[in-house]
Symmetry: D2
Subunit: 374 residues, 4 copies
Amino acid sequence: MTYIYDSIIVGGGVIGGSIAFHLARRGKKVLLLEKNVLAGESSRAAAGMLGAQAELESSSPLFPLAKKSREMFPNIAAALKELSGMDIELVNKGMFKVALNDEQAEELKRKVEIHRSHGEQADWLSAEDVKNHEPLLSHSVLGAMFLPKDGQVSAHRLSLAFFSAAAVLGAEVKEFAAVHTFLIEKDRVNGVRTNCGDYFSENVIVASGAWSAELLKDFGMVLDTYPVKGECFSVVTTRPLLEKTIFAKGCYLVPKAGGRTIVGATEHPHTFNKKVSVAGVFSLMDKARRIVPSIVDSELECTWAGIRPQTGDGLPYLGEHPKYRGLFIAAGHFRNGILLSPITGELAAQWADGQAVPELEPFRVDRSFPSFIT
Amino acid sequence: MTYIYDSIIVGGGVIGGSIAFHLARRGKKVLLLEKNVLAGESSRAAAGMLGAQAELESSSPLFPLAKKSREMFPNIAAALKELSGMDIELVNKGMFKVALNDEQAEELKRKVEIHRSHGEQADWLSAEDVKNHEPLLSHSVLGAMFLPKDGQVSAHRLSLAFFSAAAVLGAEVKEFAAVHTFLIEKDRVNGVRTNCGDYFSENVIVASGAWSAELLKDFGMVLDTYPVKGECFSVVTTRPLLEKTIFAKGCYLVPKAGGRTIVGATEHPHTFNKKVSVAGVFSLMDKARRIVPSIVDSELECTWAGIRPQTGDGLPYLGEHPKYRGLFIAAGHFRNGILLSPITGELAAQWADGQAVPELEPFRVDRSFPSFIT
Amino acid sequence: MTYIYDSIIVGGGVIGGSIAFHLARRGKKVLLLEKNVLAGESSRAAAGMLGAQAELESSSPLFPLAKKSREMFPNIAAALKELSGMDIELVNKGMFKVALNDEQAEELKRKVEIHRSHGEQADWLSAEDVKNHEPLLSHSVLGAMFLPKDGQVSAHRLSLAFFSAAAVLGAEVKEFAAVHTFLIEKDRVNGVRTNCGDYFSENVIVASGAWSAELLKDFGMVLDTYPVKGECFSVVTTRPLLEKTIFAKGCYLVPKAGGRTIVGATEHPHTFNKKVSVAGVFSLMDKARRIVPSIVDSELECTWAGIRPQTGDGLPYLGEHPKYRGLFIAAGHFRNGILLSPITGELAAQWADGQAVPELEPFRVDRSFPSFIT
Amino acid sequence: MTYIYDSIIVGGGVIGGSIAFHLARRGKKVLLLEKNVLAGESSRAAAGMLGAQAELESSSPLFPLAKKSREMFPNIAAALKELSGMDIELVNKGMFKVALNDEQAEELKRKVEIHRSHGEQADWLSAEDVKNHEPLLSHSVLGAMFLPKDGQVSAHRLSLAFFSAAAVLGAEVKEFAAVHTFLIEKDRVNGVRTNCGDYFSENVIVASGAWSAELLKDFGMVLDTYPVKGECFSVVTTRPLLEKTIFAKGCYLVPKAGGRTIVGATEHPHTFNKKVSVAGVFSLMDKARRIVPSIVDSELECTWAGIRPQTGDGLPYLGEHPKYRGLFIAAGHFRNGILLSPITGELAAQWADGQAVPELEPFRVDRSFPSFIT
């Protein structure tokens, strides 16, 4: 049997988009299937922080990937702009992780030391130094860890640019195409059954975020993933409130192009409900005004929620199904899906191209043995 | 000269709509001109309370009109439903004005006595009695004045129904028709000049809310009106949070059809800016959760702002221009435009029909002499 | 085992809503589960025609139910208004099914005769007579069948009012609760497994429209249903374009409250894609302007699409699962879900209450034997 | 008297924004006043074509400015990106002006010759050559004039980036600030009166597009400008429909970033009404499908209208008021406001800085003598 598609990707979020882009770039014929609309879930909702150091310890098994992925962004931005005309609004001005009390200050100072001991850039700045950079910060900010290499992008534009660029390179992208089941022949996958018919390929990549577990549950596999709802709001001011991303306990503020600032995010595990609650917005506003008091005078633009895919041990699943050859899973990136999308796309493309990818070992899907049904 | 139009109405809010409806009902040929879209300002933003007693003292010169207007609603609702197919969602279940501290309780008890001494219905209910009616109220509610005759409607639907019913009865309604100036012949008006051309009538009624003063300033008249911005938000729950409207200091909660509750309203004088601020939403949420704690679990549906037309002495202007015969002003209803719309429409129609309308005496436009330029 | 819930309803559209309402009215404890938002699919998209005679032949097995359901609307409207405060905008002014060529005229005249021979009201009106009622109809209208008893409602408001009224009567309604599978004990259902946990009841009613087949496919049953996308648009005029609903080949125009007119609907089978195509809107506009030429001058308000659940033989499935007691299916109402919602709710409630319901016999789920996997 | 502001700009569209940006860049203290929201009118609605040669004859007095302005875009884009973080999505791939019949082909060939005779780049391409570049064009396209230097930007992003960059450089920008009148001392302006109070400067620049005439009418000046409404729609496809902008008689198609295509635009003179009509969308769809037939299968994303400021002789007004020194007018750019914004900003800034600006001579505001009231 000859297959029309080199790879079928299940899931139209930033991860699926990046895989499609990287495969199409290698000249592969790709079909991407999305059950609803492209970038309609967490890839649209995310604030777009590239917090390799802000979100992860240098010692985390995820850190090397995160660091490499962060470094890939300038080239990705240029390639996507060339192909899709879209600017992903990459900003490389660094991030402040601020302390609002002495305990937080001590913890951040320790983190600065740890980052440095691993050879990573990080600095402790006094309250005065931080305020020199960001004059609108409140007096409650006692200092900050400065991470010069952590940046940010427009999450939604990055996601759409991946799809658009992949399509320009020949990928087929179908929305409203829900995969019902995988087509299996003996011990290997050879396609998918969808509401629009069957599609065949020896290479099927599941990149369905928080929806991946549901899809795989009939195939001898209980992915230990669960959804975590996050609420955000945005404000608009003529003159930007901030220059750099501010990261605090339970609240971050990300300055966007043209005077927008995104404030996020609450965490409500185990729900796919995307409604915004009064409690969520109220608590975010309360935190934000303690960090940047003048935010209360700004215009409330929008409120929204997204569903992030968390896993039991906090690491994504990146690897082949233990029982079915050709079935690859790339899911569970939680709050780091935007940051990790370039490297995930690159490594999944290497795998689909038949290469050995040792970097994926820590993220094997059968790492948490007890959750597998045999 | 024969005139095509018996009356020209300037302003497409609830007041202009009611006047158009009442005139069309009398068989008059009416032209209504709106510079933007119909019911696009405070008539759309209002929560729709009919708080004749909640908002006004029985001794206010406005109270007799407010009371009469409140009584007109059932017939208005029936007539509008018949002509336009629209239900204005009139609810006649009464209103609770709640006390959150002892001082407020004392004040409300005094108001109960005053209402009663004027022959109006009003009752003081203990905290327990109020909670029997509204079990979700917080323990901070120490009691309430119950006003059984104060009700509410859908402000936006009422406004649209007035225009629609007037149109069915033959009124002409033009949107995006901005009146630049009045056409004057000697001492009487005989039309208006607009961006769409000139229209002629011996009877021109200005019902432009907070925008009226600007329009009249070149005609020897400084209406003492100013805009007051009010911010609101709405939540949705499957089971209604409340049965009756709850009115507290600086915050009201109005239960709407199908599980919606509107919470209002901030007051920012002297601005036409309709942006919603973080501060406004934050303070309303803070007040609302002190009255109905479980509101924090509900879905935030919408946030918005409207511009209410306030006057220097708090009374609307209802009467003929002192210098130009045929030029009538009906503006400055502040927070009571919805409530007062039926009676304003009726009285303006009587005036336009040539009748004497003694009820309008307290609202003459030249009552505040010093503000007139002569 | 004692069960908390008398019935669990799977699906938050107008059919599930009506069943919940009718069961709650009988004092039953009901849980309704919706995987996304209430009335988010065809119940929101529908134009709300109650076309018992316009859509169905008097000889159809569905006609008696449709007729009975149409008669239930005035009482339903009153009950829903009382409980939820919502007006469903029931209009009982009849419907014109218009002929645009001689062939259509002949066919409609035949239909008039057939309706009359079955004792139903129907009249043939000449072009002149029709234009006396609806002066904006074009000269292409050669005459019309008048169906005085066919009316219309607001589909979205009807749906929301069902949920709201059911909630007021004690029903629990959960959105974002996706049923993954049915819990079965021997030959009977005793609950559902959802993304929010398990819920137990001996009585589970599937009312998931076009999504029902997918849910039941693992339970020995291939429901012969499929989705049919329909695109619509709406216009707004100050004075209504039409008084009565106009029904033509491939196009209908439904006048709504306050000057809105809905124009529908295209038919694209076998897709869940709800995007609106240029082709769809263009063809509807082209048809509409041939019927009401002045519609081209009106304001385009909105465009949208919905997914209607069609079945192989055009009849809905209404009955118990042949293998699992307690599992009831109510799905496949295609273009008649709004019309049939009251009677479906009433009959499903009778069944859930243990009554025999002979009217359901023609709609048994195992009527189309070959599609069952045994 | 010392003035706080070097210049006050009246109007928050792309012209006012560019002037504010160019002045702020020169170190001037600028106040920009907008009566509603920034870029809320034609600057938001425009498709963003930079059609110096497509829209203008080489012999037009406007052509030298248009050409110079087109050349300024790359530098403007870089400066705005640096200051505001916003990418204005400048595309420099050229434009096809297509012929759909022999007459149009002849006319375009003549225009190619004229452009060339003025030393401008322009080529005639056969139908086959055009289809090699744009394979989705219909067989009705008989050939095209190719203008390699005409490009396009995102109109809305350009406008917002101007304001944002100006604000970063110290400009004050106020929305909802309506200028009522100019403050005059003898023969020179020294400020403006607004709904927020008076502001003083010896330099007031009116950049209020179609609203400018109204503002100036009380100052001895009848600007011969009028509004022209234009309706547009946009579609979205995964793979772009077109690479270059296509310009035809009565219809253009502009490919935007990420798979969006904008189709414009109707022309309805003498109305400020921004409602979208059925007729407008229908006629644009009809034209577009004759040029790119497969557009009918694409998703209809959005419909909208904008108000363009046209003048009696088709040229903008750029110059000082003949009676009041310090009062400068920059208005009436019709369909070329986006294209002309950089040069207009630059020249107005030169004027405000006291320089002589001979390029402005053809656009003097008193050029059309009879329309002045003296």
